[in-house]
């Protein structure tokens, strides 16, 4: 959807703060949320990220009022709304299924919330038209929603939510029903629109990249608990636990026994790795340490951060794992090798053609390593 300036957009909405204070919720006997606390600033875009069943959708539904909370409070702009019915919360949700009403046209869907608010007919028409315009749906207002494409329906659903100028926009995996290609552009469109309108947004997703691209802050949930909150760079570069590291893509795991010395981490040479003496602490290019990291640790790294070295060379401030190429393929632009290191196999990309069976080293720069003490 094209960017437009002030005059065509609906009147500026001002986001408000949202606070979740010690909220617990359950479905029947099953506790789905455990003591969740979260503060969202006005105009902030927060993504709730987690695998399915982690409670992220339940948290969103608690905020919107569809799931009653057992315990705790939800505050909107400082006001307690914990027991308010969903229609009195002045929030708007974009549903995963879009939940558009098939017996109405696109314009009627978008105008529904305004009609509820007794907006005069002429004003309503103008605002619906402006919304259609803003979303790049000019001329489609009179279509039944069943006659629209997936991307267009998604926009109508977004328009219906934005038309009421809500204080909070809730997005429940709104992109998961779109093709991969459309999804890429819609991400940026929603983000741009949210910034333009200055609205506070909470976005539920299981797609790491989607959360990274769209959100100002990412909240990672696991089994009904918040396990990390931070800016995209923060959760990507400094995952707080092995679970988060694996979830954020650092899913290659090697066990080591390390020792700390002079502010550095020493990994002694072993059967499958050379000795390494890596920078640690508050310097750039340092290993990311969680826990005291003196003794046995679990090391996580991303496949794409690894490089291949042949021979005995060791790049500076890097750990080198020794193994053999067991498989090679050419996905385009580079070769993808499966490297057998002991009992484990790692996928590493490299531009050089190498033969299967060759002895190689996987070099891991210190900054790409995350070490976790048990």
């Amino acid at each position: 959807m094209p960017q437009r300036d002030g005059e065509n957009t609906p009147s500026a909405m001002t986001g408000v703060s949202l606070e979740v204070r010690g909220v617990s919720a359950s479905y029947g006997e099953v506790r789905v949320l455990q003591d969740i606390s979260l503060t969202i600033a006005p105009g902030e875009f927060v993504a709730l990220l987690g695998s399915s069943g982690c409670g992220k959708t339940t948290l969103l539904r608690s905020i919107s009022g569809f799931v009653p909370v057992d315990d705790g409070q939800i505050l909107l702009a400082g006001q307690d709304i914990t027991n308010r019915p969903p229609d009195k919360r002045n929030m708007a949700m974009v549903f995963q299924s879009y939940a558009l009403w098939p017996h109405m046209t696109a314009a009627q869907n978008i105008g529904y919330g305004l009609r509820l608010r007794r907006v005069p007919q002429a004003d309503l028409k103008r605002r619906v038209a402006a919304m259609l315009d803003l979303l790049g749906l000019e001329g489609l207002g009179e279509r039944k929603v069943t006659q629209l494409s997936g991307g267009q329906r998604q926009r109508v659903a977004l328009g219906r939510a934005l038309a009421i100028e809500p204080q909070i926009l809730l997005l429940d995996e709104p992109l998961s029903n779109l093709d991969a290609r459309i999804r890429q552009t819609v991400r940026h469109e929603i983000k741009a629109l949210q910034e333009q309108l200055g609205i506070t947004a909470v976005h539920v997703t299981h797609d790491r990249e989607e959360a990274m691209v769209m959100a100002d802050r990412i909240v990672i949930l696991d089994a009904g608990h918040i396990v990390q909150v931070g800016a995209p760079e923060e959760v990507y570069n400094r995952p707080a636990s092995p679970f988060i590291a694996a979830f954020m893509g650092a899913d290659n795991v090697v066990d080591f026994t390390v020792e700390r010395a002079n502010g550095r981490v020493r990994i002694p040479a072993a059967e499958h790795n050379d000795e390494a003496f890596l920078p640690a602490g508050d310097v750039s290019g340092a290993v990311h340490l969680v826990g005291d990291c003196n003794g046995p640790v679990q090391a996580h790294f991303r496949g794409e951060a690894a490089g291949l070295v042949s021979g005995e060379e060791i790049p500076p401030d890097s750990l080198v794992l020794r193994g053999r190429i067991s498989q090679s393929s050419y996905p385009g632009g580079f070769y993808r090798y499966a490297i057998q290191v002991g009992a484990q196999q790692f996928m590493v990309d490299d531009p050089r053609p190498l033969s299967v069976g060759a002895a190689v080293g996987i070099s891991l720069p210190a900054a790409s390593l995350h070490l976790y003490s048990p």
Binding site: S64, F66, P85, P86, D87, K88, N90, M91, A92, M93, F95, S97, A99, L100, W101, P102, H103, Y112, G113, L116, R117, R160, A161, I164, P166
Partner: protein, 267 residues
Amino acid sequence: MIQAAWIPRAIILGLFAFVIFGPLANMLLWAFTEVWYFPHKLPVEWGFGFWARVFKPRGNAMLSLNNSVVIAIFVVITCLLVSIPAGYALARGRLPWRSLILVAFLLPQAFPSVAVHINIARIFYGFGLNGTFVGVVLVHTVQGLVFSVWIATAAFSAIDRELEEAARNIGASPLRTFFTITLPMAMPGIMASAIFVFLQSLDEFTGTFFVGVPDIMTMPLLLFTASMEGNYQIASITALILLVPSVFFMLIIERFLKADVLAKVGS
């Protein structure tokens, strides 16, 4: 051998056609007969004489047609007043005895109709409802509720709950949501159930016979009386009149009721 394969098929089709259309053809013949007696294969004299008698402004037939239609309309209204809230509650609420309640509406159909209606007549007698308009409407309603409650439940079940949540979410009260989202979406199924109930009431015989006779005369009762008196012309014309709304509404129902609604009946 292969060429002769159509013969048994043609015979079977012919038999079917005879079974289905034979009585109808007989009815059509009688409707336009003035005089017809044994051993003639076809009516001796044709004409519209009996039509004039049936449609006589103050005739029995017009009176009972009028009764039938008015009763049917009231039955439809009563059924919808019960089935819309009941269907919604059964589809949405977590009622503890859900399937039991659904079966309860079936019960009147499960027992022999004569036995049920004799007892209803006995009970109604105590309330002074026998021979009254209200009594007949009530008897028809009991039968109509089977269709209307089951179909309404299915129609409401077929609506995705998120569609209602979407309305609540942007500020609609529960009642507003029901009237602007839920009910319009369930309307095709509810219309279909209303038509079923209307037709059922129009054709109802046993209950009307036990509760309404002799004060309330409806088309099926007139048809019965006319056939018993050997007045086949009047009976045939009455039957033809009853056939018109049935065929007309059946065609409409076919357009209204979608497969996804039918699939939810009883689920």
